[in-house]
Structures are given as C-alpha cells and as structure tokens.
Amino acid sequence: MAHRDIRVDGDEAVIVPYPDGPYLVRGAFALRDQGGGTINVGRRTIALCRCGRSRTRPFCDGTHRAVGFKARSEVEADAPRPALISEAAIPRRSREPRLSRGSAALLSPLRSARSSLELAAESPCTARTYRTLRTAESLLAAASDLVEDGRGRESADAGSWGEAFLCLIQGALDALALAGDQGADVAPLVTQLTRVSKLVRAQATTP
C-alpha cells in the first residue's frame, strides 16, 4: 500500500477520517464559525466530531465510543444509516428478565410517563424540544406495546424481549437527556423511567 506522508510542512491542511472515530486535522488550517469568527483550537492536531453526538462540537469529545458509532476511514459507497437507537444503548449484561410477571407494574408507570410527556410537549417549548419529547413518547409507546404483547409469553422469548424493552427505554432516556439539555424539565420522568428499567433488570436476578 502506498505510503502517504501527511505530516505536512507547507501550507496544506490534511483531514483524515479515523475508523469509528473523528476527523483529525493537521497542517496549516484555520477553524472559523459561519460568521468568520476564529474558533480557538489550542493544539496543532485537532479532532472534529464525526458522529454528531459530541458535547463540545465541532470538536470530538470521545462520545462516538459511547454511542457505538461505526464508520470506515475510506470513502463509503452505501454506509448504513445510523439506527435511531444505537447498539451501544442495549445494556450488555442484560440477563433474561421474567416478563410474564410484573407486566402491570411496568405498564402503569409507562402510561403515566407518556401522559406527562404529552403534557410537556404541549407546553411552550422550541420546535426542537417538541420533536425530542415526541420521540421519547413514541419510544415509550413502543415499549408499552411490547409489554402488552409479551404478557404471558413463554420464557424462551424472554431474553430478546427484555433486551428490546430495555433498549426502547434507554432510547427514551437518551431523548429525555437531549430535551434536558435543551432546557426542558425532565428530571422526574428520568427518575421514573430509570426505576422501570431497574425493575426489569431486577426481575432477571430474583427467581
């Protein structure tokens, strides 16, 4: 494979997309915002966010790993669209929750969380927050459907069932975290949903 020296001395800037990671920028470059203002970089080599989830955009803050971002370094012809809920959001150590028991205990907090979300979305907020809250609500709706379908199922299906449920709840929690960043008061909902997902996980450990 041809070796290309990108440690440039001249006035060339070189940008390299790293596998599953950021764009690294080296060489002679200036970083500016849309208004032409200089964005302070503070170092010779910088990493620009490629996954879109950094909290210090345009810089990378390592979040790509937490969200399971996948991308090749080379040009991609038909890259898969990122899933709404990343694989990384699925708890790794989820055992097989016993789902036929306690379904009612799951349905009722889900129902109340959904109506709180509807209320929150109807109160004055930006279009972006509205969409974020609606996303969380639709994920919870999917989780409720799953609980209803899954009631009384054979435990053979329990593993994938519980994983899907926890994944939806985690997706809703991610959306709520975003809404929280945008200024919505979501703390009570987060507490409630965290309790729900703990409940499902706890069922895995108590016979």
Binding site: M1, R4, D20, G21, L24, R44, F59, D61, G62, R92
Partner: protein, 340 residues
C-alpha cells in the same frame, strides 16, 4: 502517517568484530545472560504481587531513581548494579503477576486497531468516573486526586522512554501525542503542570512525591506498569498497547471528573486539567489506537501479542485500583494507607 500506511520496523544491528580485551570481554558477557535468581534470596515472594504495598513501593522507588533526585541518595545509585539487580528481582515477580492476570489473546497483526476497540467496548470496569460525577464527597475526590498524583505529576514521562525505541510512523505518532502532553511549546499547559494546578486549587500539596507514604501498592502498581514497559525496550509493544487503551478510555471519564468537581462547587483552576483531557485525549486516542498501536503491529508484527498484553494489563490493574477506591468509600473508609 496513517491509518492506511505504516512505515518503520525494528532497529537492529550486528556485533562488529572484537578489537581487543574490552570488546572481547563484552561479547562474552552478552553471549550468556546472567540467570539471576527469580526472587531476591532473602526476601519473601508476596502472594499478591500486584497489590503488595511493600513490593510495589520498593519497585516504585527503584524507578524514581530514573525520574527524580531522591533526598539522601547518591545520584549514581540510578545505575548501581546491585540496585538494578534488586529491581530485576522485583520486576520479575511483578511481570509474572501481570502475565497471570491477563489472558493471552490471539490477534492477527492486521486487526490490532479493531481488537483494541472491542477490548475497550467490552470492558465496563468499576463505575469510578460515574461515582465521582454524581455522588463523591469532597474528601473522596481529594483522595482520588492524591492517588492519581503518583502518575499525573509526571504524566507522559514514562512513555517518552519509548521514543528512541520506535522507528518510522509509530515513532512519529508517539511524538505527536507527547508534544501535546507536554503543552505544545507552552510549559504552563504541560499536563503535569495542569495537574499540579488542580492539586493546589484543592488545597493539596503539589510537590512531587508528597503523598508517597499514603499510596497503597495497587496505586503504585498502575504507575510501575508504565515504568516497567517504558524502561525495557523488550516491552515497547506493551507500552504502546497500554498508552492506546489509556487514551481510548480517557475522554468520557475526564468529562465526568470535571463535572464532579463542578458539582462540588470547584472552579476552572481545578477543573482545567480534566476539561483539557476531554478534547486532548479525543485527539490522542485516534492517534494512539491507529497510528501508534495498529501501525506498530504492522511494522513489527512480532510485537502484536505484547501490544494486547499491555492493553489488557492496564484495564485489569485500573479496574482493581478503581474497585479499591469504591470499596473503601462504600465502607466509609479511607482508600489511602493513611487518611488525609
């Protein structure tokens, strides 16, 4: 550079012809390595070498002779044959402990970058950074900083030992990281200087080695690991694997540490070190994983196992260290040998 192409290889020379008694004598020595005793003849072999407070402090001090002046000790002791022999005995026990701790992974040289990524993704480790972000008390945070001072007051120095031992693109990659660690030309931005600022901001003594008496063996082991890998050319692969995983597991925890300090009402003079590491290590992790570790496996394929060994050893030791801190705090005890 690069993800795509790596150049370099092991630096290797042949012994020239002997020229007289000095070279003849030397070649005789080099031909027959001393089969040193596995342990120091009169010293016990600890049952848990990685967590042994005594052994790890002894080894740490042997290494300190290479980093710092030690009060009351002649500078020449750095290369005193008896001290080196003593150190070799301690190192042998330490390295055996590490090898026993870490499973051997069979990795194709071409896949080191990906293997390191999955190793890091699989390893959850104890939730130390989450705990510090959300619940740790100020006393616990102070203890955490004191533990880390064993390394962070000389941050990056052990990795500099590897610079002359690497060639080609892995060497360039290491230098790119080190230049940033050392402040890119601004001494006040050197990471060790930022850490000293954090210690002072917390009212701690930032002088080098001030808390050595309080540090348990497992804390010292996390630093001895890097000195062992750094000071032995033989272990340069392990050093590179250690650095890669260190950087790959750094950005997110450092943001949490910064958040934890802000939660406790501390200002930028204290959080600067952690905030700087969020972005710095996001740059370093890509370079370390791909240009350095993956590149080294491409240019020196025989080092692949060592790269993975160094990476696993770091994760295993750090997990044990974090477990000690969280365990002590859960019991409302100090995680140090003597409370602050």
């Amino acid at each position: 550079m690069s993800v795509l192409g790596a150049v370099g290889g092991e630096r290797r020379i042949s012994l020239p012809a002997a020229r007289g008694p000095w070279t003849e004598s030397l070649f005789e020595l080099l031909g027959a390595p001393t089969a040193g005793p596995a342990t120091h003849p009169s010293l016990p072999s600890p049952s848990d070498p990685l967590g042994d407070d005594d052994l790890q402090l002894a080894l740490y001090l042997c290494y300190e002779l290479h980093y710092a002046a030690v009060r009351g000790v002649d500078d020449r002791m750095e290369w005193d044959p008896l001290v080196l022999r003593f150190r070799a005995a301690a190192e042998r026990i330490f390295e055996q402990g590490l090898r026993a701790l870490v499973p051997v992974r069979d990795v194709e040289g071409a896949n080191v970058g990906e293997e390191l990524q999955s190793m890091v993704e699989e390893d959850a480790g104890p939730p130390l950074s989450r705990y510090i972000e959300t619940q740790a008390t100020l006393r616990e945070v102070l203890e955490f900083v004191v533990h880390r001072s064993a390394y962070q007051l000389k941050e990056a120095d052990p990795h500099s030992w590897a610079i002359p031992r690497l060639t080609g693109s892995p060497k360039v990659a290491l230098l790119e990281i080190q230049a940033d660690e050392y402040g890119s030309g601004r001494p006040e931005r050197m990471h060790s200087a930022l850490f000293a600022g954090t210690m002072r901001g917390l009212g701690l003594d930032s002088s080098y080695g001030a808390y050595l008496d309080a540090l348990p063996g497992i804390t010292l082991a996390t630093v001895n690991l890097i000195s062992l890998f750094g000071l032995h050319r033989r272990l340069r692969g392990a050093l590179v694997g250690q650095l890669a995983v260190f950087e790959m597991t750094s950005s997110i925890p450092n943001r949490r540490y910064g958040n934890g300090l802000r939660r406790l009402g501390l200002g930028p003079e204290v959080t600067d070190f952690y905030d700087e590491h969020v972005e710095a290590d996001a740059v370093h992790e890509s370079i370390a994983a791909w240009d350095l570790a993956h590149g080294l496996a491409r240019t020196e394929p025989t080092l692949t196992d060592d790269i993975m060994f160094g990476a696993s050893a770091l994760l295993a030791l750090e997990a044990r260290w974090a477990g000690r801190l969280l365990g002590a705090w859960k019991r409302s005890q100090s995680s140090l040998l003597r409370p602050l």
